[in-house]
């Protein structure tokens, strides 16, 4: 009997009785999983629900979350209550700190800020410098974060936090020309260069004397030449990425160039940028190359220890890793300010950074500000940071007088008990260039790296950077046009 439609086949119910099912037709694996689900469900069921909280803070930064939530030693052998606890006791409010992966936090915030509905966003959030651009894209009245200018003025903190560190987290109001601040910086992140003093000494070179990048390059070439004849032909002087924007962006900042500034203006055709790009290309390609890539993650500490590369650009958060992961380098490395291109350049740069902000939808911005003040700005916060082992320089200069920022550090050699690297960083912190971040900054950096690649190829083909100026300028102009088109397209004209 062949039938395609059941209707034709059974106009009436059958008379026989269907036999009882004899098997679990979905098979053993599903049966096992069913049991697993049932058993684990009990454990899951028993989990305590999230306690209610008056203020919720989202953070992606594990160290910060620890600083806020953990009970930490106070330096006199006692354990302090956690920052959050102290705050809760003082104001009688309940606070929750949620540690979320960075990608997850960004997507959640983007969705929450987009969807008018308020309470799905937290009251406060920490945002990383690479992520802030997208949140500042809307016109000022539609940004998901609350302007903090009034709080800063009323509380007096406005004048006490480093002004240059507000740059990444702020936007200019097109009508008044006033700077509207959406985030409070956690850090300054000045950049130095850390180099293998032992290896440079052995080659008879005092890198400290390099005041310009050109001198630096010459010394490094002499250094590589020495080691090439002493059994280390692959030894490169400094870690410079060939596929990423990190170091060239740091160098551009030294010259006070942001690829896109806070007025959304592009600077690809700036003659200084052209100069820097060509200089950087011949630092990593051709006969005068002194830079090489390092291993991923924190592998650079190992590369430095092995002498694959002998110098690294070190923002303050990187210095701590060096101590932690390459203890064998103690006494063998030294730190110096970054060389400049011209005298007007900064002897340092800035890399990375985190802010805290209040969401516009927060129903109690005053309470949120109180929490922000306590977690980020208060003396208690400064103490907790150090207790949590976070010796990154805070963005508040008055805390820089803590002894820890001024003591000798035997890890860094200077002939007498160790270099005072805290002093060096503090000295440089006052001179850090302003860094702006826009929604298009990441794309602009990609475009710049693409130009660098063409420049590298040119140098590799011609063996010299001579004659590169013209084509490189053309490439940069091309990149600028493309970026400009994108920015114009994305611009919002209601």
């Amino acid at each position: 009997m062949q039938c395609n439609s059941y209707r034709i086949c059974h106009p009436s119910p059958p008379t026989r009785q269907c036999p009882d099912p004899v098997q679990f037709s979905l098979g053993k694996p599903i049966l096992v999983l069913l049991f697993a689900a049932a058993i684990s469900a009990i454990a899951v069921w028993k989990q305590p629900p999230l306690p209610r909280a008056d203020l919720v803070l989202w953070s992606f930064d594990e160290t910060h979350a620890r600083t806020f939530r953990d009970r930490l030693p106070d330096g006199h052998g006692r354990i302090m209550p956690s920052l959050v606890n102290q705050f809760e006791r003082r104001l009688g409010l309940r606070v929750r700190i949620s540690l979320i992966g960075e990608m997850g936090e960004n997507i959640r915030l983007a969705s929450a800020f987009m969807a008018q509905a308020g309470p799905q966003s937290p009251d406060l959030c920490e945002i990383e410098i690479h992520s802030i651009g997208q949140f500042l894209r809307p016109p000022n009245d539609d940004i998901g974060l609350l302007p903090l200018n009034d709080f800063l003025r009323q509380s007096g903190w406005g004048g006490r936090i480093m002004a240059s560190r507000f740059a990444p987290w702020s936007k200019i109001d097109p009508r008044t020309g006033r700077r509207i601040i959406y985030g409070i910086p956690a850090d300054v992140h000045p950049v130095t260069i850390t180099y293998r003093k032992d290896l440079f000494d052995e080659a008879g070179i005092n890198l400290d004397q390099a005041k310009t990048w050109r001198e630096f390059q010459d010394m490094c070439l002499a250094f590589q030449k020495y080691w090439a004849t002493h059994g280390h032909r692959d030894r490169k002087a400094i870690a410079l990425s060939t596929g990423g924007p990190d170091e060239i962006v740091e160098m551009l900042l030294q010259r006070h160039i942001n690829l896109i500034d806070h007025a959304q203006k592009l600077h690809f055709t700036d003659p200084e940028l052209l100069d820097t790009a060509i200089f950087y290309a011949q630092l990593i390609a051709g006969p005068r190359a002194i830079g090489a890539d390092v291993s991923p993650g924190i592998g650079w500490t190992e590369d430095l220890a092995r002498g694959n590369v002998c110098a690294v650009c070190t923002p303050d958060w990187k210095a701590a890793y060096l101590r932690q992961f390459s203890p064998q380098l103690a006494g063998k490395v030294r730190m110096m300010p970054m060389p400049k291109f011209e005298s007007s350049d900064a002897p340092t740069s800035t890399s990375g950074g985190t802010m805290i902000g209040i969401c516009r939808s927060c129903p109690h911005p005053r309470q949120a500000w109180k929490l922000l003040e306590f977690l980020y700005l208060s003396p208690e916060a400064a103490k907790a940071r150090l207790a949590a082992g976070d010796d990154v320089l805070p963005a508040i200069p008055e805390y820089w007088n803590q002894p820890i920022y001024h003591q000798r550090d035997p890890f860094f050699a200077d002939g007498a008990g160790g270099q005072r690297i805290g002093n060096l960083y503090i000295n440089l912190a006052e001179q850090i260039p302003e860094r702006f971040v826009t929604p298009y900054t990441y794309q602009a950096e990609l475009a710049l790296v693409a130009v660098l690649h063409r420049a590298e190829e040119y140098i590799a083909d011609h063996g010299t950077a001579e004659g590169l100026t013209q084509p490189c300028a053309a490439w940069l102009a091309e990149a600028q046009d493309d970026m400009q088109r994108r920015i114009d397209f994305g611009k919002f004209e209601p």
């Binding site: 059958p14 684990s40 997850g104 987009m114 969807a115 509905a117 924190i298 958060w317």
Partner: protein, 273 residues
């Protein structure tokens, strides 16, 4: 004989290539951070200084919670998605009913859609349902799979109509036809799809990370990711490796224990397209 030895040698070499990253992972899980860095060169250096510290560090994290949560979500997800997909596939393969064609067309259109497009809309929806930070937001939308339903439809097309007809004459309800006739004849599909569905949920990353807020509710990949942080700040690789190892074990066990059922099912008839 020589051919047989050559065959085995070849297989051993290939298997070695296949498991080297795995071995590297195992080695890395037992190393101190300093040695781990040194071992980017060689996985087998410093084998005398192995440590259990990475695993101990996991105890400081709500790692057990994450493990149980992952088991719960993945198991439940798999049971639901296999059941519902086989039901839906049965309906689409063996019945003619008004509305079938539009359903099929819309399904085929969406199978290709990258899930990332749906994220903002879904998040908004979950908010309105008050399902943020709830497993419902993961289980309910995940209970169906267009891909699964299409697979089951294809294999159920092969169930002979005569067989169903006989069942009906025997007085079996339609549900019993699905359970007693259709399902046993697509066992291979069930085995294959169970594995696929379980692994997909076990390793699922983006959506749970967006939905779950309470750290005690995290799944393994999300929990691990909150440990690693940003790539440039990453410094506890050893812990991540240890955790990765532990997180692979349950699936490995599942596969190893049930590989006969997964695969004998498969081989008894293959996926009949």
């Amino acid at each position: 004989m020589i051919r047989r030895i050559a065959l085995h040698l070849l297989l051993i070499v290939l298997a070695a290539v296949a498991v080297v990253p795995f071995i590297w992972l195992i080695c890395a899980a037992f190393k101190t951070p300093q040695d781990l860095l040194g071992s980017t060169l060689l996985p087998w250096r410093h084998l005398d200084r192995l440590t259990l510290n990475n695993f101990r560090a996991l105890r400081d994290q709500p790692f057990a919670h994450w493990l149980i949560n992952s088991i719960f979500l993945s198991s439940l997800h798999t049971v639901l998605v296999v059941t519902l997909s086989s039901m839906g596939g049965f309906a689409l393969a063996k019945y003619e009913f008004p509305g079938k064609r539009p359903i099929m067309i819309i399904m085929l259109g969406t199978i290709l859609l990258p899930s990332q497009v749906l994220v903002p809309g879904s998040y908004e929806l979950m908010y309105h349902l008050h399902w943020i930070d709830s497993y419902l937001a993961i289980i309910v939308p995940g209970a169906i799979s267009v891909f699964g339903i299409i697979l089951f439809r294809q294999s159920m097309l092969n169930v002979p109509d005569e067989l169903l007809q006989c069942g009906r004459l025997d007085g079996c309800s339609e549900l019993r036809l699905w359970w007693d006739i259709a399902l046993p004849s697509v066992r291979p599909m069930i085995g294959a799809y169970t594995l696929l569905a379980f692994l997909a949920e076990w390793n699922s990353f983006l959506w749970p990370q967006i939905i779950l807020q309470n750290e005690a509710k995290y799944t393994l990949p999300i929990g691990l990711n909150s440990l690693t942080g940003l790539p440039e700040y990453q410094h506890n690789y050893g812990i991540v490796m240890a955790a990765t190892l532990v997180s692979i074990l349950p699936v490995a066990l599942l596969f190893f224990a049930l590989q006969k059922d997964f695969i004998s099912g498969l081989s008894s008839g293959a996926v009949k397209g």
